[in-house]
Symmetry: C2
Subunit: 311 residues, 2 copies
């Protein structure tokens, strides 16, 4: 199968590309920074703007995985850049596909739980209404709607998958408001300190990077006829509190690791996090065979496996 990955140099993109290359797929990998060099793959380093779309699909890939995005904070800070990258670029891709008669690729779009906005029920159902409260969430919700319409019209065979917060994120601590969810696990595991800016009771929605790769792999083989016209799917995840994260850390690495976490309340971060969804019913995705971790111990184990593999 020939698979085009847009955003192939990102955290999920690299892992997904490596996994698909291992299975022998032919890959075209595109990103603004150089994508990984893999067997049987073509790497394209280019800005994924609207004008790049026709060139990207000239080779008529069987499937397209669209991971490229400006993240939430940047889309909020730079209105033009957010709409250009997160809406105009995917729309141009859809239009480029529609302009090629007889070409109906599978298109898997990485959407986000940011399509939803507070206030939330305790457990958000699959059919919760679209209420984004960020420009990023708005752009993701609009692209979902386009993907449903282009699929219904027969121009693509599309689906949008709404990813949980990915945890444990590898790499260095970053300043994203959500960074601490990963920091308080990743740093103490290697003997480094980490700051916790929110109460231990804070609940959020997680899946490991490996689960995210699994979602896209499963979506590639999924018979989309089972989706009907409802082409956006909330992915399964684990609803866990910070306290549950810390207990899992204690079980894996002991009190010494837990002692490396410093509680340093930050009202600004706590306020942002309080508007995020904390728990979902993902009945449809589970019935369709998507799976994620069910305990935080599994999420930590997935991180240790990935770090070991990287060492």
């Amino acid at each position: 199968m020939h698979i085009l990955i847009l955003g192939a140099a990102g955290m999920i993109g690299r892992k997904l590309a490596a996994s698909l290359a291992e299975d022998g797929h032919r890959l075209t990998l595109a990103d603004v920074v150089p994508p990984p060099d893999l067997p049987n793959s073509t790497a394209l380093t280019l800005d994924l703007t609207a004008s790049a779309a026709p060139g990207l699909i000239a080779g008529r890939p069987d499937a397209i995985i669209h991971l490229a995005a400006i993240v939430s904070g940047e889309a909020e800070a730079d209105f033009d850049k957010g709409y250009a990258t997160n809406l105009d670029a995917p729309r141009a891709l859809l239009e480029a596909i529609r302009a090629m008669p007889g070409y109906v690729p599978k298109l898997i779009f990485a959407s986000s739980i940011a399509v939803f906005g507070a206030p939330f029920p305790a457990k958000i159902p699959d059919d919760f209404f679209l209420t984004p409260r960020t420009s990023y969430g708005t752009q993701k919700a609009i692209t979902e709607l386009l993907i449903s319409d282009y699929s219904r019209r027969g121009f693509i065979d599309g689906l949008s998958i709404r990813l949980p917060t990915i945890c444990v994120r590898p790499g260095k601590p970053n300043l994203a408001a959500s960074g601490f969810f990963s920091n308080i696990i990743r740093e103490p595991l290697v003997g480094k300190p980490a700051v916790l800016p929110v109460p231990d009771t804070t609940r959020h929605w997680f899946a490991s990077p490996q689960s995210a790769v699994g979602f896209f792999r499963h979506a590639l083989t999924l018979d989309t006829a089972r989706l009907g016209d409802r082409r956006a799917l909330g992915m399964p995840g684990l609803s866990a509190t910070v306290a549950e994260e810390i207990e899992a850390l204690r079980r894996v690495a002991g009190q010494k690791a837990v002692d490396l976490i410093t509680r340093q309340p930050d009202e600004k971060i706590a306020k942002i996090v309080s508007t995020w969804p904390a728990d979902f019913e993902t009945t449809r995705a589970s019935a369709l065979g998507f799976v994620a971790e069910t305990t935080f111990d599994q999420i930590i184990a997935a991180h240790l496996v990935a770090e070991g593999a990287a060492a």
Copy 2:
């Protein structure tokens, strides 16, 4: 107040413009066909494409009422035209406004119950999820999302109002799938025959043209701070069956009028209509003071008043 109406020559646009002119507002009326000539108003006959947007708002109207659209059937038949008129044109308007520093007009967008798609609960709640199953509904849903985001960001003071099916539509019978809901009232009232293509048990969601005018008038004075970030509002309406329509006709015009209705089942129309929503809870809009008819007798009475006024 200076009010710009886009789509001012349409059925709702004409009535709304006349009503606002009567109150002494200064109007700019734009449409592809010549808008009505009213006191203290400027009429612009032009194609409401994306490129027309900056010129339309050069006079910095205090409020903009956006009624212009390609209807559902045409948006389905002509994909490009539908997206150009129903998505690119309103988006260009939003962008033109954003490009004018310090200009934050009220913007009232005519959306539609087509943002929802079957299957439906018996009574659709205000927070039912966006599931359009037409390109028209997709375009309306996307524009709603843009209006919410541009409002949240402070570029406009916007709201989207989702109109029920307008009944009794004046004028001649047309071939729209929904036309019969009006035809079976309007035609017999003037002694002419009408065809009923669906079962008497068919239920649908109605408001009179006068109620629609009232929705926009009320939206003009509404303090949108009461909406928070949820800027799309389902308008109140009347849920009624065809049988209830016919009983109301009988009360108003007698059995002689009812006898002018010929039952001529059309499976194709019945199938289309079966996918349409039939009843809504409109708790939010009602609490905000929007009102519509509560009996079909009132809808017929509104029609008779309008026809009398026109004669």
